[in-house]
């Protein structure tokens, strides 16, 4: 009985040591408590929820809620004080900064790559061709210099951050063809393209691997390096925004996103981290 208690004491002690060692950047949260509400861009959600989980596990007195809604909602909520951090997938407009007094923190680059089956000879397209493909004007690979055969279109669901970037940067206002098959994750997209020789779809740049082939757009090859350097055009920055300079829990949260573990979370979500103060 005694030895069991001793053993459990030792176990708890070891656990405490282990968690305090592994969680050095989390130390900022040790004496904090309260609630932080985060709202806005959907692409941010995986990063925000993972960070929130880490922080709340470290210090259960802190409550962090993460909601979606899109960039517009993010600006509105943080501006009206309904959320501590409002996320946007686009830079703030001057009018928004002026109206609400917002401070912005870019923390990640979200790049989207057009992808085809590795055996498909078409490895480069122009922006106009992409629009023609996705609006249904071009329906056969032979019109693009590939093997004859119908183009199988794949896309993402409404509200997907990947779809938003792809649409904003490449398609513009073009109406989508009704024949676009919809999958609901980067993983499902990869599976669909990897199996279908006549497929075309798009994934977050971090998800490109040997099972699918990235397509260069106007000569710009999709890769993490090119996205980071600004050479690849289908990218956007992801921003956190606060009303005035952040303090307390909000400031600590933003610092955590910029920390080493924060960068890891960003990479795991398929984005490229931006160091603090850059840009």
């Amino acid at each position: 009985m005694k030895s069991l208690r001793k053993l459990s004491c030792l176990f708890v002690f070891l656990l405490a040591v282990a968690s305090s060692v592994s969680a050095a950047p989390l130390d900022a949260f040790k004496d904090l408590e309260g609630t932080l509400d985060i709202a806005g861009g959907t692409a941010h959600i995986p990063v925000m929820t993972q960070a929130a989980q880490d922080i709340m596990t470290f210090n259960p007195k802190i409550r962090i809620t993460v909601a979606g809604g899109g960039s517009g909602v993010g600006v509105k909520q943080v501006g009206e004080g309904l959320a501590g951090i409002g996320n946007t997938g686009r830079p703030l407009k001057p009018a928004e900064v002026e109206k609400y007094g917002l401070v912005t923190f870019p923390f990640a680059i979200d790049g989207v790559a057009l992808a085809v089956h590795p055996a498909n000879p078409v490895k480069a397209l122009t922006k106009e061709q992409v629009v023609a493909i996705y609006s249904g004007a071009v329906t056969d690979w032979k019109d693009l210099g590939g093997e004859p055969g119908a183009i199988n279109l794949y896309g993402r669901e409404d509200g997907s951050g990947t779809r938003e970037t792809f649409t904003d940067k490449l398609l513009g206002k073009a109406e989508l063809a009704p024949t676009v098959n919809v999958v609901n994750s980067n993983g499902a997209m990869k599976t669909a393209i990897a199996q279908d020789k006549r497929a075309i779809g798009y994934v977050g740049i971090g998800h490109l691997d040997s099972s699918i082939a990235g397509v260069a757009i106007d000569g710009h090859v999709p890769s993490q390096e090119n996205a980071a350097s600004g050479d690849y055009p289908v990218v956007r920055d992801l921003f956190m925004n606060t009303k005035g300079e952040p303090t307390g829990l909000t400031a600590a949260f933003i610092d955590y996103i910029y920390s080493e573990p924060g960068a890891k979370i960003i990479e795991k979500s398929g984005y490229i981290p931006i160091p603090k103060g850059k840009k």
């Binding site: 959907t42 959600i45 909601a67 979606g68 809604g69 899109g70 909602v73 119908a150 199988n152 669901e157 409404d158 509200g159 997907s160 109406e175 009704p178 024949t179 676009v180 098959n181 919809v182 999958v183 609901n184 499902a188 599976t191 669909a192 199996q195 279908d196 497929a199």
Partner: protein, 291 residues
């Protein structure tokens, strides 16, 4: 004495407890149903009337019509039900004397195993096996009505077979002696006596199968392609109401999209309720005609 003395009190207590349980459970169920239906009605009111029931889905243009998905849901459910119901009927007959005993035993084992297979396994296997097969053999992307319909039929077979088998087995046992005495062969016995008597169970198996087919979200999401349009051929990509709910839910947005989900939920519930009421009416009529 003691037996007669105890019986009434026990008899009164049992039903009371049961009645209380039944009341609370049906109250709970009723609340859920009322909530879903009210949300649907609210969605209709807030979503500018019939705009949500239109054919156009274009969130950027403020159009959130789910008519295409209603059509696709019904098409997929009824087609897979037709296929699955006949397969189940076949399985049920095979289990009850049409197949040699060893084959029946094997089939029973297979069906029992199939009830334990999670839907996602069917879906995953189909993505890698059936989808490429259909794509190469018949064209299109392989993610289509046909693929999803086949798999939905398959996943419904064990449940429907067991519902049918339960009734058929006991009816067959009851009537076997008489039928044999009248000189009916086992096949005649099954087809002329047992199946007509079991019509009610055959129908309720169909309703059960239909409910599952219309309500399954995973297989259509994984296999039907999810393109938003009316399906005209079995090779067309389609999005069902359930797939629509799971796709839009994954990105948590308010506004018209959200309202369309509420309406889709209410419609799914209404479909299932109407089917089962219809089936009940039909089976009552069938029983009445026989008596």
């Amino acid at each position: 004495m003691s037996l007669t003395g105890r019986k009434p009190s026990e008899g009164a207590r049992g039903p009371l407890l049961l009645r209380a349980l039944a009341l609370s459970v049906s109250g709970l169920l009723g609340t859920v149903i009322a909530f879903i239906l009210l949300s649907g009605v609210e969605a209709l009111v807030r979503g500018q009337g019939l705009g949500l029931l239109g054919a156009a889905w274009n969130p950027a243009g403020g159009k959130f019509g789910i008519l295409t998905m209603i059509q696709c849901s019904l098409l997929l459910a009824f087609s897979s039900l037709c296929l699955g119901w006949f397969l189940s009927l076949g399985c049920c007959c095979a289990l009850n004397g049409l197949a040699p005993r060893w084959a029946a035993r094997g089939l029973l084992g297979l069906l029992t195993m199939m009830t334990a297979v999670p839907t996602v396994v069917y879906g995953f296997a189909a993505v890698f096996l059936l989808v490429p097969l259909i794509r190469d053999a018949l064209g299109g992307t392989g993610f289509c009505w046909l693929t999803a319909g086949l798999l939905l039929a398959l996943q419904g077979v064990p449940t429907m077979t067991f519902v049918m088998d339960g009734a058929v087995r006991s009816l067959a046992a009851e009537t076997r002696l008489t039928a044999t005495a009248l000189g009916l062969s086992p096949v005649q016995h099954l087809s002329r006596v047992v199946l007509p008597l079991a019509s009610r169970s055959l129908l309720s198996a169909a309703v059960l199968g239909l409910g599952r087919a219309v309500g399954d979200a995973l297989l259509p999401t994984m296999l039907a392609g999810n393109a938003i349009r009316f399906a005209h051929s079995p090779l067309d990509s389609m999005r069902t109401l359930t797939a629509h709910i799971s796709l839009v839910l994954s990105s948590d947005i308010g506004g018209g999209e959200h309202l369309s989900l509420l309406l889709a939920g209410a419609l799914l519930l209404t479909f299932c309720a109407v089917f089962s009421l219809l089936a009940r009416r039909l089976s009552q009529r069938a029983r009445g005609a026989r008596l």
